[in-house]
């Protein structure tokens, strides 16, 4: 009974004044987080052009974010292309226009599914790892140690990760697009019996250069977002091992939301 009372007193609202204060605190935290994240990003970009250039750190991060994510990206791409072909073939057959399935899958992959799914996969794999790594360094005071050694921790830790994301995600996206179209080709031509020449002709017919540009720009933006959010959450971790876990989760969720939100914005601005 005593326990229940205590529980209620902590969870029950603290009156109108308390609620307003609570709301204000949440808003302030969100605004503050946005500001600090942006400042971190500006800092990291600025420091990218300042010596010392630690190229081996960048290469290491590119390998971690790029090469290590390649397998999962290829799988995502090929299966997405196959599923897309299957699904759109069924709908298109109702209109007697199943021959355009190749063009449809290619456009969907290159413009939307390639960049978004690649970014989400890389976010789940590498974004979380970035947050966990930096978070652990923070709570074990390794970052403070770097500072004590007169090494800028942002330049040493954050800049190479953001750069690696910025470079590698669009490249992964391009590879994922191609495997997606290949997967679609396999299902469409070998399984569903669409003419192979028509399939590829429609791919070339529907795709425009601006579609490829759009996919690449999206990949670069998403790569920057997922590494930045991971780095920010890890860099500002507090509260020991529990804090590291929380930072990792928050980083993945927030990066995923921001990726989808920015995807919408880029699509809208690209059309207009």
């Amino acid at each position: 009974m005593q326990k229940v009372k205590q529980h209620l007193s902590t969870t029950l609202p603290l009156g109108i004044k308390g609620q307003v204060e609570h709301l204000g605190r949440i808003t302030l935290t969100a605004v503050e987080g946005t500001g600090r994240g942006t400042l971190l990003f500006v800092d990291a970009v600025r420091l990218a052009f300042r010596p010392p250039f630690r190229l081996h750190l960048l290469v290491k991060q590119m390998e971690f974010i790029g090469n290590k994510s390649l397998g999962v990206t290829l799988l995502t791409g090929i299966f997405t292309g196959m599923v897309m072909t299957f699904q759109s073939y069924r709908s298109l057959k109702d209109f007697g226009s199943e021959s355009i399935v190749g063009g449809l899958v290619a456009v969907a992959m290159v413009r939307e599914l390639g960049p978004v799914l690649t970014a989400l996969m890389v976010n789940a794999r590498a974004g979380s790892a970035v947050a966990a790594e930096l978070g652990t360094m923070r709570v074990t005071e390794q970052i403070d140690a770097l500072q004590a050694l007169a090494v800028n921790p942002v330049q040493y830790l954050v800049t190479p990760r953001i750069l690696a994301g910025f470079i590698m995600v669009p490249l992964l996206t391009a590879i994922s697009d191609i495997t997606g179209v290949m997967g679609g080709y396999g299902v469409g031509v070998w399984l569903l019996g669409v003419d192979s020449g028509i399939f590829m002709a429609k791919v070339y017919d529907f795709l425009k250069f601006s579609d490829i540009m759009q996919g690449t720009v999206k990949g670069a933006v998403f790569g920057t977002i997922l590494t930045l959010v991971g780095a920010y959450k890890g860099y500002n971790t507090s509260g020991g091992a529990e804090g590291v876990g929380r930072a990792t989760t928050e980083a993945v969720v927030m990066a995923a939301i921001l990726i989808l939100f920015s995807d919408y914005l880029i699509t809208v601005f690209w059309q207009s």
Partner: protein, 428 residues
């Protein structure tokens, strides 16, 4: 893979990624014949709806180039095509806008012309265009039809409205007139029998070409001259207005009076269901009145005799008629007196009709009523018979009549001038 350094592995991935982007871009952009060796030709089109920059130009279904620019010039679409150098177009090239499938994209269909003509060079112009029979024009045609249909329905609505308003009155009036005059009708019909006998002799006379009516019917030159004159009048009138003119000639034999009554009528029809008629009637009976003559005989006794006098042999009818479906109502001046009438048509092309006209309501012997049946055995000629003045209080005036008539209008001129385009007679 293990023995490859990190740098090499990253480098391979970067190269693969960049390679993918470049490969895709080249495949997408370099595929089109629009880039590379092309020459430009322009087309002036009335309609370039749905056409985009990059839309294909095809000859016999083979892509030879694409639309490189679309612009508006002097209210027409100026479409510029980039044609691959491998394909030649000639001076008599024809281009048309077509669509792939019913919802498909638009493309320019090119007929490259004949090789005997000079080939088109860069900056050349395709002057011959053709509007394809695609969905757009089909929808356009359907739109026109619907517009006309709407107008027709509008007319129909007003038509039925006025019919619903006037119809019951007309039938009621007709019924009351018929029942009021049942007796006189009976006696009139009896006389009709003898009238029929006389009809034989009249038609026989006409057939032989006797009399002016016979001449008119039988003599080709008379008919032709009359028709030429009518054509002139008709074309003149149709230039001024679009009135239809119908000229009628009619002769009636009054059985008891043993006289002939002739009519010359000009009927103007501004609308199909309305007419204005001016009719000149040569009426031997004329206006009938009675006067008392006193004659003094030798015996000194004055003998009073009553005799009927006829006057006014030439009479006028001015009528306005309105037709509701197969019922015609007319009113105005009939033989110098106000009156009105109802006509009911039967059969195809109004072959038969029954009519009742009543006028001279204040006449000395009561209103003059005339019941007539008409048989239009030929589009320009008819037979008529009936009972004249059957409601008269003076039994001498009750009479049966029969007659023949001809009338000239567009319909009757058509068989005579079958090969002549009628638009020259009656205008558009």
């Amino acid at each position: 893979m293990k023995n490859l350094s990190t740098e090499i592995r990253v480098g391979l991935l970067v190269l693969a990624g960049i390679g993918s982007i470049v490969m895709g871009s080249v495949a997408v952009t370099g595929w089109r014949p629009g880039s590379g060796d092309t020459y430009k030709v322009t087309i002036q089109m009335d309609n370039a709806s749905g056409l985009l920059v990059g839309s294909p130009a095809q000859v016999a279904g083979i892509k030879i180039g694409e639309v490189s620019a679309i612009d508006l010039e002097d209210g027409k679409a100026k479409v510029e095509l980039a044609i691959n150098n491998r394909y030649k177009l000639y001076a008599d090239t024809m281009a048309s806008l077509k669509s792939i499938g019913i919802l498909g994209d638009k493309y320019i269909d090119v007929n490259p012309g004949t090789s005997s003509q000079a080939p088109l060079s860069d900056g050349g112009m395709i002057s011959r265009t053709e509007s394809g029979s695609d969905l757009d024009s089909m929808v356009g045609n359907a739109n026109d039809i619907l517009k006309e249909l709407k107008g027709i329905l509008g007319h129909l609505a007003t038509f039925t409205e006025s019919l619903a308003k006037d119809g019951p009155h007309i039938t009621q009036d007709l019924r009351s007139i018929l029942s009021d005059n049942k007796d006189s009708l009976d006696s009139s019909f009896k006389r009709l029998d003898s009238t029929l006998g006389n009809l034989d002799s009249i038609t026989g006379k006409i057939d032989k070409g006797e009399g002016s009516l016979g001449k008119l019917v039988n003599d080709e030159t008379t008919v032709e001259e009359l028709n030429n004159a009518l054509m002139g009048i008709n074309s003149y009138l149709s230039d001024v207005t679009r009135l239809k003119l119908d000229i009628g000639l009619r002769a009636e034999r009054l059985n008891q009076q043993q006289t002939y009554k002739s009519y010359l009528s000009f009927k103007l029809q501004p609308l199909k269901e309305r007419f204005y008629m001016v009719e000149l009637v040569d009426n031997p009976r004329g206006k009938v009145s009675s006067r008392t003559i006193s004659t003094t005989t030798g015996g000194g006794a004055a003998l009073e005799t009553k005799e009927t006098v006829t006057s006014q042999q030439m009479q006028w009818s001015l009528l306005i008629g309105q037709r509701y479906f197969d019922t015609l109502v007319q009113g105005g001046l009939i033989e110098n007196h106000f009156g009105m009438g109802v006509n009911q048509y039967f059969g195809r092309a109004d072959k038969y009709s029954i009519g009742l006209d009543v006028w001279d309501l204040g006449g000395e012997f009561g209103p003059h009523a005339k019941l007539s049946g008409l048989w239009r055995f030929y589009s320009g000629a008819f037979l008529v018979m009936g009972a004249d003045d059957f409601a008269s209080t003076n039994p001498k005036l009750r009479d049966a009549f029969f007659g023949v008539g001809i009338n000239f209008n567009e319909d009757s001129l058509r068989p005579l001038f079958g090969s002549l385009p009628l638009s020259t007679i009656s205008g558009p």
